[in-house]
């Protein structure tokens, strides 16, 4: 099932749902014809879209709003904070091409602080599915949960089949004594590759798909840092404010410390190019991740990655 199929099904079965976009129709191409006047395109007005979503929510609606991640999280930030956060309204933000998914667009479109910004808003919940299967397993609960949410939409397909979603819970893919990789979003696929390489090199490796960044699964973080010699945080986000910061906050809250290796963008944007090249250039392929953890080069081949089709 695709994002659009899921949204269409839910919106058709529940009159409360309104699908909105600030003229970002990539995820909702066929919805106007199906939803009629419950589809609202406000044009290129991210702020007005959020304000209008608040008005609709006051009337009992659940608006699912769409815009590019950087404009939804930053251009409209104060509207999200003030009109969704303060009144705790069920406005559901679907952020398109977050993190590395903006591939060739350039730094204007690189949302690498969205997790940090959104989790800083009281009442806001924040989610990042690993792939399309994870996405459709997560969204029904997120959309039916009272209060606002921010979801890094990720429609990439992987071979992995995910377990059912529970809000606030991470998905423990495996556990290991030597290394545990904590990750979210599209880098999950690269983490799977890295885990394979590390296991072949004889390490005991754990992998956690964080899924829910706020509320965060503190237990998953504490168990990973307690059970493994090394914890890796892997994210397409700035080093500040994302998963690395979350892990630090959780550890400090419990009076603990740990050996943590972060993969994140430290005080810089990434090279704009097609997604597989972004990963290669920035050192985020599964093979590169594994080799950095191992501390040596290997003979493994990085599998080919499908290039997502960009559309506005």
């Amino acid at each position: 099932m695709t994002y659009e199929e899921l949204l269409t099904e839910i919106a058709l079965s529940d009159e409360r749902f309104i699908v909105m976009t600030a003229e970002n129709r990539a995820l909702v191409r066929n919805i106007p014809g199906k939803l009629g006047n419950r589809f609202i395109d406000t044009g290129i007005t991210e702020q007005t879209m959020i304000g209008a979503a608040a008005g609709l929510a006051l009337r009992g609606r659940i608006p699912v709003v769409h815009a590019l991640a950087s404009f939804l999280s930053m251009r409209a930030f104060e509207f999200v904070r003030t009109d969704a956060g303060i009144p705790n309204l069920p406005i559901k933000l679907s952020s398109f091409i977050p993190g590395f998914l903006s591939d060739g667009n350039g730094p204007t479109h690189q949302a690498l602080e969205d997790i940090s910004l959104m989790r800083g808003i009281p009442n806001m919940t924040v989610f990042a599915p690993a792939d399309e299967d994870d996405l459709v397993k997560m969204l029904p609960q997120i959309w039916n949960h009272p209060g606002p949410s921010y979801v890094r939409i990720n429609t990439c397909k992987t071979a992995h089949t995910h377990t059912p979603f529970e809000l606030g819970k991470a998905e423990i893919i495996s556990t290991g004594d030597d290394v545990t990789i904590l990750t979210y979003g599209l880098l999950f696929e690269q983490a799977l590759i890295a885990v394979e390489i590390l296991k072949n090199e004889g390490l005991s490796v754990g992998l956690v798909n964080m899924r829910s960044l706020k509320p965060v699964d503190e237990r998953a973080i504490l168990e990973a840092t307690r059970n493994s010699s090394l914890t890796v945080t892997l994210e397409d986000h700035f080093l500040t404010g994302g998963l690395y910061s979350i892990v630090a906050e959780v550890l400090l809250k419990h009076g603990l410390t740990a050996n943590v290796l972060p993969f994140a963008l430290n005080e810089r944007w990434f090279k704009p190019t097609l997604l597989p090249n972004v990963l290669q250039h920035e050192g985020f392929t599964g093979k590169q991740i594994a080799e950095k953890i191992l501390g040596y080069k290997t003979f493994y081949r990085q599998p080919e990655m499908a290039v997502p089709q960009f559309s506005e």
Partner: protein, 287 residues
């Protein structure tokens, strides 16, 4: 629709009481007294005459909606609510008290306030959301958003007009409290707005410009709602900042005021035409 003839006298009495409340709130921390006095007649008219809003229907989906976007004129709203029975007048003494929720900007803990404001340029879009839902449902409720003229500096006000025009929201009325001032100076000396009527017309709205202190003019204008089928309604209400207190009227430096107790007493007398107040309290510069 209400008749044009009778209500005026009563409204003037209510408005005078509301101005008294505003003046009483302008001490012990103070409030945005100038903007509250300019919007007072508008707010009184809308709640007392035009809108289907009363203490019994505040949760009824069939009520009308008023959004106070400029926000810092909320003492006029508190005063109106007190006079119309939506708020216990005794609570106005709690202005800025830690034990109540009556402060410088609107919040929904006060029954009748539909949405919080204070950050300018937000509520035009929130009002659009409500108006859109009413259109989807085929409901006939009216939606009003009161904006300040200074607030029109914010681009999102104009985004909202574009979107309201696109969705033909003739159930929505944007009311501009055109008191000619923004925080520190005359609008025309900082970011000129005129010709304001033409600006809104060019954006596709049906516009009426009236004296915002004349209840007959207000009544005539709002009685013509909806002004034109399929068009956003805009009322530009020409008002006077500080209206009712000649000693602060049209003064750029009297935006936020924190008067001392004797000034408040003098201003209450001034409101009733007894004399002009000699103001000695410091002029506060908030922004």
């Amino acid at each position: 629709m209400q008749s044009v003839a009778t209500p005026t006298k009563n409204l003037e009495t209510i408005a005078l009481k509301v101005r008294e409340h505003i003046i009483k709130m302008s001490t012990d921390g103070g409030c945005f007294v100038g903007a509250s006095l300019s919007a007072a007649d508008l707010i009184v008219y809308l709640y007392a005459e035009f809108l289907n809003i009363n203490k019994h229907n505040l949760d009824d989906p069939n009520r009308d909606y008023l959004f106070l976007s400029k926000g810092h004129d909320v003492p006029a709203l508190y005063g109106t609510f007190a006079e119309l029975g939506l708020l216990d007048p005794e609570r106005l003494k709690n202005h800025l008290s830690v034990n109540d929720n009556i402060y410088w900007h609107p919040n929904t803990k006060i029954p009748g306030i539909e949405f919080h404001s204070g950050s300018l340029g937000h509520l035009p879009s929130v009002a659009i959301g409500v108006a859109l839902d009413l259109k989807i449902k085929g409901s006939t409720n009216k939606v009003i958003c009161i904006m300040g003229d200074g607030e029109l500096n914010e681009g999102t006000c104009w985004e909202a007009v574009l979107v309201a025009n696109a969705y033909k929201l003739d159930n929505l009325i944007f009311v501009v409290d055109r008191n000619q001032f923004q925080a520190n100076m005359a609008t025309e000396d900082l970011i000129p707005l005129e010709p304001l009527h033409d600006k809104f017309t060019a954006f596709g709205a049906a516009v009426k410009r009236i004296n915002g202190h004349d209840f007959d003019a207000l009544h005539n204008a709002f009685s013509a709602y909806p002004f034109e089928t399929g068009k956003l309604n805009v009322v530009i209400a020409d008002t006077v900042r500080g209206k009712g207190l000649p000693s602060i009227e049209r003064r750029a430096d009297r935006w936020f005021c924190n008067f001392n107790a004797s000034e408040v007493n003098d201003l209450l007398k001034e409101l009733h035409g007894e004399h002009l107040t000699q103001l000695t309290s410091e002029t506060l510069v908030v922004r």
